[in-house]
């Protein structure tokens, strides 16, 4: 029972972490928490569902097509809603993302209806493989472990060593200085939103495969992924993933011992940790000076 709780906790935690990374990427460049992240993933998942069930295309076509859609969706939202804002404050941008969230939810309800749907995902939650003697994992769990590790490493390398990644970090630290240094910050923001939307869409598909697909299905996972990101540290990509894993494990073990406390116990732990380390467990604590 202990191993099963641990594996299930790590699996859902990896999914939280993956989605938390999508939230963290936008935050890393613009200091904005994108409250529309869950609904962006939801709409992308509905697009995949539509391609799979209405057009009857196989998954290997539906998946890349959805990824392209997710990229365009992220760029479009940044271009249509965030960019036109004149001298925006962080609070102003945050309110805009809340508006986008409502808009996307309404759009999905209008187009696909509110009735729950089963999302036909490539990786089954029923088929198991014995990866080590005595340790059998289902395809979904294997997939989410591999994907979150790969994305974490790629993003870590991207932000640490690539020109674009460094430009993104520079933009977050000081937009004006970045402009002076020749960084096209608008392009940076656009790419950031595209990347975030892409990763969020992948994570949302994993969530949908485990639950059901409807216009509200990402509301709760978003809150937990955001909490996981805050726990790990919003500016640290590996920290966000580890935060997700910690959250998943805490929830599962407490949920087993005291089921009625499961929805809140993780948040209580997070509040305690944030009180001690305001930037999260793994992020460096910066103090902006005038």
């Amino acid at each position: 029972m202990f191993e099963m709780l641990l594996i299930e906790g790590l699996a859902i935690g990896a999914c939280y972490g993956l989605f938390g990374v999508a939230v963290a990427i936008v935050y890393k460049t613009s200091d904005v928490v994108n409250f529309a992240q869950g609904e962006m993933g939801m709409v992308a998942t509905f697009v995949a569902y539509h391609i799979l069930t209405v057009y009857n295309f196989p998954f290997w076509i539906a998946f890349p097509a959805t990824m392209v859609f997710a990229i365009l969706l992220g760029m479009a939202i940044e271009f249509c809603f965030l960019r036109p804002a004149k001298n925006p404050t962080v609070l102003g941008l945050l309110i805009i993302t809340l508006g986008v969230e409502m808009l996307l939810m309404g759009l999905a309800g209008w187009k696909w209806g509110a009735e729950q749907k089963d999302f036909p995902f490539l990786l089954s939650v029923y088929k198991t493989h014995e990866i080590l003697p005595g340790l059998a994992l289902n395809e979904w769990t294997i997939g989410v472990f591999i994907l979150s590790i790969v994305i974490m490493i790629l993003l870590f390398l991207f932000f640490r060593y690539s020109k674009l990644g460094i430009a993104m970090r520079a933009t977050q630290q000081n937009v004006n200085a970045a402009k002076i240094m020749g960084i096209k910050v608008e392009r940076v923001f656009s790419i950031t939103w595209a990347m975030s939307s892409l990763i969020g869409a992948v994570a949302a598909m994993f969530f949908a495969a485990r639950s059901v697909l409807d216009p509200n299905f990402m509301m709760e996972p978003f809150m937990r992924a955001f909490a996981a990101a805050v726990l790990g540290g919003l500016t640290s990509i590996p920290g966000v993933v580890i935060g997700g894993l910690i959250l998943g494990i805490i929830e599962n073990f407490f949920g087993y011992a005291w089921p009625e406390w499961k929805p809140i116990v993780a948040f209580v732990v997070i509040i305690l940790i944030i009180t001690i380390r305001p930037s999260g467990l793994f992020a460096k604590h910066y103090i902006k000076k005038v």
Partner: protein, 396 residues
């Protein structure tokens, strides 16, 4: 300054006058029509239940096509409240004060109904067959509310008895939503278990929005339960079954009537719903009962785009006793005469259970059928209409 004050006074006067105009309820009928209304989520998270309101509309359309009731046609209003009690209040007020409503029927949502229950009573508007089972609607008797939805504790009690006596269950666990709905089911199950001198091996709650139920399901598995009774929403039920499938836990699942839309449940669980036993307080949509056949044919004619599911037919079922009482009232229609006829409803049989109302008891039934989800989402009847002999409200 003087002009501003005068202008403000005019605006205030107009506002007060408009309030006076809309403060009183308009009469709900005239010589040509009877105005009936229902709120329901046509958009938003609970929109799948919106078909209840449209289902009532099917019966009203059939009645109107047959000439109406004593020369009056039914004018039916549906308002979208998005499953939001504040919105329910707004739409009900608008309907009562602007359109003039004679009676409400159905009405999805416990909180939505609770938000307007007193307002309707104050305005002496009858509300027939609320689409949820809440003790507060009928205990103590509200002269304007007539319920037909079996109470959740009655339903859970009957299902528990079936599990023990027919399925020979030795270890029963209860998995419930942490709200009035789930707790009512738990209460009914426990009262039956007490009567049978048994105890639940596990009782586990879930918050309605939770998407990861692995720890709860592992705990159920560890309890060794051979039957798990669940009182949750469709999403939680689907996640529970999927999770149990991954952890290799296969008990006999039993659920309330709220999850009896087998085609929907099978669709969202990827076929895992087959074999699940549920309560049913309306005939299956595939039933060959002449009344159901009539509705099926009418739905093809009036609403070909509508899925003929259990929520849709439930809407028609809620409207049946209302139409019956209106017919019995005769041409001299009044709210008092309508209430008198509703109170005189004895052994009314529509596509639901037998309904009985009296001035002292407005809970119309405590009966359910027990069915099982068969291949291709078919309905297999396991037990015909069954009453809860332990129902405490009948003994008062």
């Amino acid at each position: 300054m003087k002009k501003v004050v005068i202008a403000s006074m005019i605006v205030c006067a107009v506002f007060v006058c408009s309030l006076l105009v809309y403060a009183a309820a308009k009469p709900g009928f005239d010589d040509k029509e009877i105005r009936i209304a229902q709120w329901g989520p046509q958009t938003g998270p609970a929109a799948p239940w919106g078909s209840v309101a449209r289902g009532s509309g099917l019966l009203f359309q059939m009645v109107n096509d047959e000439g109406g009731i004593h020369g009056r046609k039914i004018k039916y209003f549906i308002r979208d409240d998005q499953y939001n009690p504040a919105q329910t209040k707004a739409v009900v007020k608008e309907l009562v004060e602007r359109e003039g409503i004679f009676a409400f029927v159905g009405g999805v949502g416990a909180a939505c109904g609770m938000a307007v229950k007193d307002y309707l009573a104050q305005n002496k508007i009858v509300w027939v067959a609320p689409s949820t089972a809440i003790d507060e609607y009928v205990f103590p008797v509200n002269p304007y509310i007539f319920a037909i939805y079996p109470l959740y504790d009655d339903e859970a009690s009957i299902l528990t008895k079936y599990a023990v006596e027919k399925l020979k269950a030795k270890k029963i666990a209860f998995f419930y939503q942490n709200d009035t709905y789930g707790k009512s089911g738990l209460k009914g199950c426990k009262s039956r278990m007490k009567a049978l001198r048994m105890k639940l091996v596990e009782e586990i709650s879930v918050e309605p929005g939770e998407k990861d139920l692995s720890s709860q399901m592992l705990r159920l598995k560890n309890s060794g339960a051979d039957v798990v009774i669940m009182w949750v929403n469709p999403t939680s039920a689907a996640i529970a079954l999927k999770t149990c499938s991954t952890i290799g836990f296969k008990p006999q699942w039993i659920s309330s009537d709220t999850l009896s839309d087998y085609p929907l449940m099978n669709k969202i669980t990827g076929g895992l719903w087959e074999g699940v036993i549920t309560g049913m307080f309306g005939l299956a949509t595939s039933s060959n009962d002449p009344r159901m056949i009539k509705y099926r044919e009418a739905a093809k004619k009036y609403a070909p785009e509508e899925r003929f599911g259990t929520f849709y037919t439930a809407g028609a079922m809620y409207a049946e006793p209302l139409v019956d009482a209106l017919k019995r009232v005769g041409p001299k229609l009044s709210t008092e005469a309508f209430i008198k006829q509703l109170n005189a409803t004895k052994n009314f049989q529509g596509i639901g259970p037998l309904i009985n109302w009296s001035p002292k008891v407005h809970q119309g039934t405590d009966s359910i059928q027990i069915t099982k989800c068969g291949p291709n989402s078919s309905y297999i009847t396991l037990q015909d209409w069954t009453k809860n002999e332990l129902a405490t409200w009948k003994k008062k």
